[in-house]
Structures are given as structure tokens and as C-alpha cells.
């Protein structure tokens, strides 16, 4: 048997491939992105980046109904977008096995909330699998396809950041080719007309009873008998943190955690003196156990907020911590727009214009941080466009002429288009800036309908933002290169002052794309002439927010390891104190 060192996401891709998956879909989102990236490398699998999670979900469900083994992966908040088909799919059931992967983000390393998607499994009444490490991700996904087909149900495989992004040793296998299942037209199953859905709801409830029984004997659940004075009930990553702190305790280790395996629980509780629940975020297991009438405690010890870790478990349960050195002073080092980032030109200008900015989800959310602080709202994917429209309808033209929505190209396709149609249809006057950097940047460069390539890297038709805006009814569409600072400011002023819907296409590729990096390598870097630089008294280049530029001994300093040789700092320096390396002015 071969061994590989895989992240949870890589293991999910590998396990799905081994299980014979035919169709895999996703919209990128941390911490889920690498699942589709990796599964798309297998030639036997059709893999696509879909425009959003709802479309991804529906494509995968369609493939399942058509007889294929299918999977869809997304970050936790993506499942909110796909919640509509999720609930319907519980009623329709599947044909080929269908696994939904939700990668949650406890600790909010790269997310806007800490929602615990285990609740979706219970809400939609579908089985929930919670692997703890890469090996389990690999094994559970294979089991997930079996459960899905056996019980005619979608299966929710729930990962968390530390499962998705930790690497461990995985025993891997070869692919088992699974033929497509026969397709039969079954209107009473797949058309959820009220009359059909009523019958399907009975089916769902009967299925849940069967799954509840099955959970007691599932190989994904086990009791590890140890010291019987303390029993720990846990699942997912929490199992590993608890095991680290209590290596000798007894464990009820749940991998198939909903419907809840009551018989197994009873056996465990009968065998230990005291039982506690250790789980991250929501008291999901604890509530199930209490609802069944057993007295256990969990959230009394373990916080609801933030990521779990061995020290949080130790502090919570034992009220102690390891002997250690005091924490050191860390300098605040928030993430920043990269050197040469196209968004710098937009946010620098929006700050200069003192604009009200409704923002969106992507790298450019960093425009909210100093030095720009050029953002007023960020809610969810697409909300920049609709928030601006709401501002407009609440406060009128005098306010709207100082307001813009900023949204990335990928996010605009994901859920900005409907908002733009709303503005035009309902006679709004907002300005929408589409930050077109030709890629889904934040999550590490995934293609989308506007980038001209698909998940396999093949050329595809490229969505034309100008034609789309015009088709929606926007009459004024502007194009700018955001690295031309003055020109950009002029266009922004004009678009904002126009009393009708306007779209500004800010067009420049992400500075981290390979072609851009190559150009950067060939360009000379910039240096500061310290005798000309007014430093602290000026701060002109510092306020660009370029990570390569800092203030050292009262003067501007450009770190050569970071500089990409763009000329934004030269454009803003009023004293010609920035030149190409090797020049002395």
C-alpha cells in the first residue's frame, strides 16, 4: 500500500477519485479550494469551477440524478448560497452517490463568520460525517458514497480549516471504476411538486430512522476504552486536541455523528464514571445527547467562540496550562494588498475622493484597513452592488454621487449580476466598480467565466463585462487601468457624478499571476533618494499602502526583496525622490 503526505483537502480529492467519482464541482473558498484543484488533476473526473455554490450544487446533483457519482465542495458560507437545492436534494434523494463537502472555518482565519454547518445536516435531514485527519477524510469520503447510494440520500462531509489544511500521512489506494447507474424518469422522486414532496417527506423521515440505526454500527464510530473515570464524547478535529490532552481517557469517537448513534452512546455512558463533550463552536453533539435524555456537560468547559486547540481544551477542562514562557510582543502585521496589486490604485483613489464604499468579498476587502480605510460595508458575496442601491434608495442622489460599490470579477459573476439588474430595473443611480484582475485571486488563482479558461486550464468563451452591463441596461461603462492613478481618479469622479447607473471596469491582472511576476522580475526595482525624500513630513508613498514601502529613520525605504518595480510610488512622490535602482536622479 502506498503512503502519501496529504492535506485534508488533497485526501478528499484522492479519496473521491478512488471511490470512482465522475463529476466534481465547486466554487473556490478558503478552506475548501484545494479539493477541486486536486480532483481536477485526475483525467477520469469531470471537474469544474462553477460560477457560484448554488450552480455547483445543482450541477453535481444533476449528475447524481443522471447516474454518476458526484461531489460538490465549498466553504461553510457557500452552503448558505446553495441551501435551496440542499434542502430539495434531501427530498429527491440521489441516483449515483452524492457527497457534499462543507469546509468550515472555526477561528475565522479567512471568513466572515463562524457558522457550524453540522446544523445543516440535521436541518436538511441528511447524514453527517466528521473526519479528524487526512487519513479519515480519505476513508470517510469513500464510505460517504456508499452510504449515499445505500440510503438514497446526499451525504454531508464536514471539514474544518485544521482538517482541510493540516497534512498527515495517508495510506492511499487505486481507483475503483464505478459504472454510471441506469437513468430512469421518476417524476414523483425528482419533481418536487407539492403532491410529490408530501410523499417524499415521509420517505425522508423513514430514511432518518434507518440511518439512526445504522449509525450505531457504522465503522466511522468507535469506543476507545481507556481510564473509565473520564469519558470524552467528541468528533472531527476536536478528537485530536482532546486526545493530546487526555491520552489515557476513554473516548466515544464519532465520525458519523448525525443521526446520532444512541445505542453506542448508552454503551459508552454505562462504561464510564463521568462523561463530557469536547467539540468546537456549537454544542451540536451536546444538544443531541441532552435531547435524548442523558446528562452530559460540554459547553460548561469549552468555549463557543474561536478555534479549539490543545491549550483551550486543557484550560477549559483542567483549568491549567503547560509551564511556558510569557507571550512575546508581536507587531501588528495584518494582511495587505500585495506590491504591484491593481487594487492599490483604486483604493488609494477612493481614499483621496473620501468616497462611501460598499465592499465585497475578496482580496480587495483589505481596502477596509489602513492606510485607506476606504470601505463602509462588507456583508457577503455580491452585497456591494445591492448595498449601494439600498444606500441610494435610503439617502438619494446627494449621497449616491459620493458612493461606489467595489466588487471583484469573480465575485461579480458569483452574485453581483442580479444586483446590477436590480439597480437598472429599479431606476437607481449607483456606480459599480468591477475590479477585473482576470482571476479569483484571494483563494489562489482559480479560473471563472470572466477569465477565459476552465478548471482544467482549457480555453473557454470569456464573459464580456461591458456587453453584459450594457445588456442589463447600463448605458455608461468606463474602462480604466488602475495603475494610472490620475486618469483613474478622473474616471471615478465622472462616473460618480453621472446621475444614472454606471459601471467602471478596472482592468489589470493580479500581480501574482505568473506572467505578471515574470514582468516584475525583468523590471528594475525602485529606490528612494534619501536626500530628496521628505519622509515623515510627506508620507505620500506610505499612504499608497504598498507593503514594500516603510518608514526607516524618518525616510521612506523600499524593501528590494518585496518591490516589483511598478511605478505607483513614483506617481505619488511630489519630490521626485523615487527612481529606478542604479539611477541617482
Amino acid at each position: 500500500m502506498k503512503k502519501a503526505f496529504l492535506s485534508g483537502n488533497e485526501a478528499a480529492a484522492r479519496g473521491a477519485w478512488e471511490a470512482g467519482v465522475h463529476v466534481a464541482t465547486a466554487y473556490p473558498g478558503t478552506p475548501s479550494t484545494e479539493i477541486l484543484e486536486n480532483v481536477s488533476k485526475f483525467k477520469e473526473v469531470y471537474a469544474e469551477w462553477s460560477p457560484n455554490e448554488k450552480t455547483a450544487f445543482e450541477v453535481a446533483l444533476g449528475a447524481s440524478i443522471a447516474g454518476a457519482r458526484a461531489m460538490v465542495s465549498m466553504k461553510h458560507v457557500g452552503l448558505n448560497v446553495a441551501a435551496d437545492p440542499l434542502f430539495s436534494s434531501s427530498y429527491t434523494g440521489v441516483n449515483g452517490g452524492f457527497v457534499i463537502i462543507s469546509a468550515d472555518d472555526p477561528g475565522m482565519h479567512s471568513s466572515q463568520n463562524e457558522q457550524d454547518n453540522r446544523r445543516y445536516a440535521k436541518f436538511a435531514k441528511i447524514p453527517l460525517l466528521e473526519p479528524s485527519d487526512s487519513q479519515e477524510v480519505h476513508d470517510f469520503i469513500k464510505e460517504g458514497f456508499e452510504i449515499s447510494e445505500k440510503f438514497d440520500t446526499p451525504v454531508l462531509l464536514r471539514l474544518t480549516t485544521r482538517v482541510s489544511h493540516s497534512k498527515g500521512i495517508v495510506k492511499v489506494d487505486e481507483r475503483k471504476d464505478v459504472p454510471l447507474k441506469d437513468y430512469k424518469k421518476l417524476p414523483e422522486k425528482y419533481i418536487i411538486l407539492p403532491a410529490h414532496a408530501k410523499k417524499r417527506h415521509y420517505f425522508v423521515e423513514e430514511r432518518t430512522i434507518k440511518l439512526r440505526e445504522y449509525a450505531n454500527t457504522s465503522p466511522l464510530n468507535r469506543i476507545e476504552w481507556g481510564d473509565r473515570s473520564l469519558g470524552i464524547i467528541t468528533s472531527g478535529i476536536s478528537y485530536l486536541h482532546a486526545k493530546e490532552v487526555f491520552p489515557n481517557a476513554s473516548f466515544l469517537k464519532l465520525g458519523f455523528s448525525w443521526p446520532f448513534p444512541e445505542k453506542l452512546l448508552k454503551e459508552f455512558l454505562d462504561g464510564v464514571e463521568k462523561a463530557i463533550v469536547i467539540e468546537e463552536n456549537e454544542p451540536f453533539l451536546e444538544e443531541e445527547i441532552k435531547f435524548l435524555g442523558y446528562n452530559v456537560e460540554g459547553k460548561k468547559y469549552i468555549p463557543l467562540v474561536d478555534e479549539l486547540s490543545p491549550e483551550v481544551v486543557r484550560k477549559g477542562v483542567l483549568k491549567e496550562e503547560l509551564e511556558r514562557l510569557p507571550d512575546g510582543k508581536g507587531v501588528q502585521r495584518p494582511p495587505q494588498l500585495c506590491p504591484g496589486c491593481p487594487h492599490i490604485g483604486i483604493f488609494y483613489n477612493l481614499w483621496r475622493l473620501r468616497a462611501t464604499v460598499t465592499g465585497d468579498i475578496g482580496c480587495y476587502t483589505l481596502g477596509a484597513l489602513p492606510p485607506y480605510r476606504a470601505m463602509d460595508t462588507t456583508i457577503c458575496m455580491g452585497a456591494s452592488v445591492t448595498n449601494a442601491h439600498g444606500f441610494d434608495k435610503a439617502r438619494g442622489w446627494d449621497f449616491t454621487k459620493k458612493t461606489v460599490a467595489v466588487i471583484g470579477d469573480s465575485t461579480f459573476v458569483h452574485s453581483g449580476i442580479t444586483g446590477l439588474a436590480d439597480i437598472v430595473y429599479n431606476k437607481g443611480n449607483s456606480t459599480v466598480i468591477i475590479l477585473d484582475n482576470r482571476i479569483t485571486a484571494m483563494t489562489g488563482h482559480q479560473h471563472h467565466p470572466g477569465s477565459g479558461k476552465n478548471a482544467k486550464g482549457e480555453k473557454t468563451p470569456k464573459l464580456d463585462f461591458e456587453k453584459l452591463a450594457k445588456a442589463i441596461g447600463v448605458r455608461k461603462v468606463y474602462h480604466v487601468d488602475p495603475h494610472k492613478l490620475r486618469e483613474t481618479r478622473k474616471v471615478l469622479r465622472e462616473a460618480m457624478a453621472t446621475e444614472e447607473p454606471t459601471v467602471v471596469l478596472s482592468e489589470r491582472p493580479c500581480a501574482l499571476l505568473p506572467e505578471e511576476r515574470k514582468k516584475a522580475k525583468e523590471r528594475p526595482k525602485k529606490v528612494v533618494l534619501t536626500d530628496k525624500c521628505k519622509g515623515e513630513k510627506c508620507m505620500g508613498c506610505i499612504k499608497l499602502g504598498c507593503p514594500a514601502i516603510s518608514l526607516r529613520d524618518g525616510k521612506a525605504y523600499i524593501e528590494p526583496l518585496l518591490c516589483v518595480g511598478c511605478d505607483l510610488c513614483q506617481q505619488v512622490c511630489p519630490f521626485d525622490a523615487i527612481v529606478e535602482e542604479g539611477q541617482n536622479g
Binding site: 503512503k3 503526505f5 478558503t30 478552506p31 479550494t33 482565519h109 479567512s110 485527519d133 480549516t161 485544521r162 489544511h165 493540516s166 497534512k167 498527515g168 500521512i169 478535529i237 485530536l240 486536541h241 486526545k243 493530546e244 491520552p247 486547540s309 490543545p310 491549550e311 486543557r314 496550562e321 503547560l322 509551564e323 511556558r324 514562557l325 510569557p326 507571550d327 512575546g328 510582543k329 508581536g330 507587531v331 501588528q332 502585521r333 495584518p334 494582511p335 495587505q336 494588498l337 500585495c338 482580496c363 483589505l366 489602513p370 492606510p371 484571494m442 483563494t443 489562489g444 506610505i542 499602502g545 507593503p547 514601502i549 516603510s550 518608514l551 526607516r552 525605504y557 526583496l561 518585496l562
Partner: protein
């Protein structure tokens, strides 16, 4: 578990931390040990503070290093060493830090100050403190992007893996064009400790 070795690799997004931690983890695997590594992708890689935890031994459970259980901090940037001090074990911990200082814009904008006397901040707790000019040594090795390999070279003195293991994994993991520079960088780093 008590017999695992816990290594904290810290720095600033874009410094090659994830490659370094991958090489370390693969060395542990090659030595027949259980190994886990953990880091966070996404937002924090845009020039923010980045950390990767690598744990290896007979059996590793949690991928996270508990505060007070770290054996070595390998910092690619000076202030990013101090940030993680609380993770070191109380006695016998080691810190290896690059002398490179990268000032975040919070300092330039007057919102925060860059920590001072970082070496003393470790030495006053009797932490073995090693400073390395990895920028200089990487240039000596022929490629400024080999700073991470220089630092792995220094780290190799504190880990019981054979030199062949390191060399094999480095050869396997770095771009072929840079193999020679990386091997040289490793050797220069390893030579920092006499």
C-alpha cells in the same frame, strides 16, 4: 505526546515558509516517523504574519502545537520570532532567527512599534538564541530565494535526521534549476553552528 518534536516556523507571507515546513515534514516521513503539519491559507498569506507547525514522533495527534511545548522556533523575520515565544517549552527551547526585519505599514503609519531587543527578550529566559543573516548566506549560495533553505540548514543541527535525508528531500522538492543553490544554502546554514 511527550516524545514528539514540535517545530514552529514563522515569518511573513511570501517568504517560502510553507515550502520549508513541507521539506521538514517530508524528512520526518522519510525517517519513518509519524508527522503532521498545520498552517492557514488565504487571507493571512497576503503579507501578513504566517506560521506553520510541524510535529513528528512515534504518534502525533493534534496538528496544533500547544503553548509551552515547542522545541524550536525557526523565524524567517525577526519580530515573527518574538510573537511565538509563548509556544516554547519553559526549559531547553531554541530560537533560530533571520536577522531580516520587515516593517509592516502599521509601524510606518505610527499605529504600532517594531519590537526592540529581540535577542535579549529570549536570552533573559535562557533560551538558546541563534541569529542568522540568511539574506547574506542565500546570496552567497547564488540565489536570494534560498533563504528558507539556509534556515533549514541551521535547524538541521537541532534535529536528529541524517544529512542524506535532508539532501534527498531538498533535491526532490525544489525547482531543478535551483537545486545546486539550495544544496549550497543548506550547507551554509548547517555550518552556522560549529
Amino acid at each position: 505526546m511527550a516524545n514528539t518534536k514540535n517545530i514552529i516556523i514563522s515569518g511573513v507571507g511570501g517568504q517560502g515558509i510553507l515550502t520549508a515546513s513541507e521539506i521538514l515534514a517530508l524528512c520526518a516521513m522519510e525517517e519513518g516517523l509519524d508527522v503532521k503539519k498545520s498552517e492557514v491559507h488565504g487571507m493571512s498569506q497576503r503579507g501578513g504574519s504566517v506560521v506553520s507547525f510541524v510535529k513528528f514522533g512515534e504518534k502525533v495527534y493534534s496538528p496544533l502545537i500547544e503553548k509551552g511545548s515547542g522545541d524550536v522556533i525557526l523565524a524567517f523575520e525577526k519580530a515573527e520570532a518574538l510573537r511565538w515565544r509563548g509556544y516554547l517549552k519553559k526549559t531547553g527551547g531554541v530560537v533560530i532567527m533571520n536577522t531580516l526585519e520587515i516593517y509592516p505599514n502599521t509601524v510606518s503609519l505610527g499605529l504600532d512599534t517594531y519590537p526592540e531587543n529581540i535577542r535579549e527578550e529570549f536570552e533573559k529566559y535562557n533560551v538558546k538564541t541563534i541569529e542568522v543573516d540568511a539574506v547574506k548566506l542565500s546570496k552567497e549560495a547564488g540565489d536570494p530565494r534560498t533563504q528558507n533553505t539556509v534556515l533549514l540548514g541551521v535547524l538541521s543541527n537541532f534535529i536528529d535526521f541524517s544529512v542524506d535525508t535532508w539532501i534527498n528531500v531538498i533535491e526532490r522538492r525544489v525547482p531543478p534549476k535551483t537545486t545546486q543553490a539550495n544544496l549550497k544554502a543548506f550547507e551554509l546554514g548547517r555550518g552556522v553552528i560549529k
